[in-house]
């Protein structure tokens, strides 16, 4: 299993979507850090390097990051189909479940890797503003960007890192859903599109208030404003992850190649 996992992690860096995503995650924070019209549009000035990660995350969690995660995780399966290597691997004495489990673990790790990289590029983009005490907020705490007086760097670090961790965690089920759809459709593009379509439908379901707290899309804003107690949100996301992973394994176990 460890050989399999090492192999799958090695493949991650070869994916076109990972390389493309890295470029996007470098450029995106720069747009915020150096946008000349930010005051005209949003009515505030950036005063700290800690605010760039917040703006980058706030503006990308709704669509950009789910898109990048879905495409990459679907491509984890799609690349094997494109290269024709899926049967080759399955002919070795690894079980189908082991192989898919390795893929699912990589798909689960990818949002954390991507957001760690995004945090680094955002901090680098905001370095111009410095990371000392500042008047205002990071944008990721209860007080938003305006804050409540002077914010100390240690508090800012805590808010930013926790928010990025929570955001990454809430993106994990999206990656696993993309793997599930890619396994069903045996196609990377189809897997990513089906995932995005599902998310769009879920976003529309907010017109049913009773189901809103349970929707996956509702949890995407938990990093800044959890709809329910945080423990409940964490558990709900774990349930989504388990359900998508189990469904992917069940489908994959009975698939003809």
């Amino acid at each position: 299993m460890s050989a399999l996992l090492r192999m799958e992690i090695g493949k991650l860096g070869r994916l076109a979507s990972v390389r493309f995503g890295a470029v996007v995650l470098i450029v995106f924070p720069l747009l915020w850090a150096y946008a000349p019209g930010i005051f005209d549009v949003y009515g505030f000035f950036l005063v700290s390097g800690f605010q760039v990660p917040a703006l980058a995350l706030l503006s990308s969690m709704e669509f950009l990051l789910p898109l990048l995660i879905a495409i990459t995780c679907a491509e984890l399966i799609g690349m094997e189909i494109n290269h024709g290597t899926l049967p080759t691997v399955l002919l070795r004495p690894v079980t189908r479940a082991q192989w898919l489990l390795a893929k699912l673990l990589v798909a689960s790790a990818y949002p954390f890797l991507a957001l760690a990289f995004f945090l680094l590029t955002s901090l680098a983009a905001g370095a111009f503003f410095g990371f000392g005490p500042f008047v205002g907020g990071t944008g990721l705490g209860r007080q938003g960007l305006l804050g409540a007086g002077t914010m100390m760097p240690v508090d800012a670090w805590r808010e930013v890192v926790l928010a990025y961790l929570m955001a990454a965690y809430s993106l994990v089920p999206i990656g696993l859903l993309a793997v599930l759809f890619a396994v069903i459709l045996m196609n990377a593009a189809g897997g990513a599109l089906a995932t995005l379509a599902t998310l769009i439908v879920m976003q529309l379901l907010i017109v049913f208030p009773a189901v809103t707290p349970y929707l996956l899309t509702t949890q995407l804003s938990a990093y800044v404003q959890p709809a329910s107690p945080l423990g409940w949100v964490v558990a709900l996301i774990a349930v989504y992850c388990a359900a998508f992973a189990a469904a992917a394994v069940i489908v994959f176990e009975r698939k003809d190649f």
Partner: protein, 313 residues
């Protein structure tokens, strides 16, 4: 002897459409079994069912006595190439791809990678990325990957696809050697002429049905005579204890000798019976013609059945 590969009443349907119907055959250690048939006959499906990549709709598959789905560990004893051309990660070198296979298989020494690369004459290209390999080179790398674990069962889908004559000869030699060392080889191919040279059995598939199996092992002892009186010659030869399987083919009488040395007795025996012998020689089996006859006959039978149900029976 236990069969290395055995299928019984193997059937595969996609929806209601049967792709493989009631397929029963066996490959024993040391045998090379070639599946031949027109495009769409179901050869690749059989290869995938037998190797455990696809699930049968009904019937059974046994590899070394075990179900490859229920006991995936049996694949430790399997070497297989089920894609034509053989599939590898194009961004890795030939050597790295094989090392990756070795890691997945477990227990394969690094020196074995070098050994199989040399065996298929790819040592010189081992450190080039597979993306720049020609079709024939990829196929040879596929054979090398299949041989990596010294398998007891080799399954190859179109191993000769895209190969030049020299590579073709090389792969045939490698497969023959593997069979000589006791490996059971199952392959699908369109190269009917080469099949006769190194396969022990041929199964002819048509529309998912195994319409004939030919045992090529005793073809070398088959003799053909051209005579003036065909029926007399047939009866005379059939009465000899050192002759078996006598039949008439056109103006020839074809028969199999119990022992090759008995060929010296043929002329004398026929002369005693008053049959004038004009020609005597080995009956080289023409698989291509035989295959065409069998496939066409099967198609004619099917057409007849379509028009008048049960007519061919």
């Amino acid at each position: 002897m236990q069969a290395a590969i055995e299928t019984k009443a193997l059937t595969k349907r996609y929806g209601t459409r049967p792709i493989i119907r009631d397929l029963t055959f066996a490959v024993h250690p040391g045998e090379v079994y070639a599946l031949v048939g027109p495009n769409g006959a179901g050869k690749t499906t059989v290869i995938r069912l037998v190797s455990g990549l696809a699930f049968p709709s009904s019937g059974t598959v046994r590899m070394l006595g075990q179900d490859p789905h229920e006991t995936p560990s049996v694949r430790r004893r399997l070497g297989a190439v089920v894609e034509a051309p053989a599939a590898f990660y194009p961004y890795l070198t030939g050597r790295s791809n094989l090392l990756l296979h070795a890691r997945l298989a477990g227990g394969v020494a690094t020196s074995r990678v070098r050994e199989v690369l040399d065996q298929v004459e790819l040592g010189h290209a081992a450190d080039r990325k597979v993306g720049v390999y020609s079709l024939g080179m990829r196929q040879r790398l596929g054979v090398a990957a299949a041989l990596l674990t010294r398998p007891e069962v080799l399954i190859l889908d179109e191993p000769a696809s895209g190969m030049d004559p020299l590579s073709l000869h090389l792969v045939h030699r490698v497969l023959r050697d593997a069979a000589a060392s006791g490996t059971a080889v199952l392959l699908s191919t369109h190269h009917l002429d080469e099949v006769v040279a190194y396969c022990s059995h041929v199964g002819i598939l048509e529309e998912g049905v195994l319409i004939d199996e030919v045992d090529l092992r005793d073809r070398g002892a088959r003799v053909r005579v051209l005579v003036d009186d065909v029926q007399n010659a047939r009866l005379t030869l059939a009465a000899q204890p050192w002759v078996r399987e006598v039949f008439v083919r056109g103006r020839d009488v074809v028969f199999t000798l119990e022992k090759p040395a008995a060929i010296d007795r043929v002329a004398g025996c026929l002369a005693t019976a008053g049959v004038a012998l004009r020609e005597l020689g080995d009956d080289s089996f023409d698989l291509r013609s035989y295959y065409r006859e069998r496939v066409e006959a099967q198609r004619a039978r099917r057409t007849l059945d379509d028009e008048i149900p049960g007519a061919s029976a």
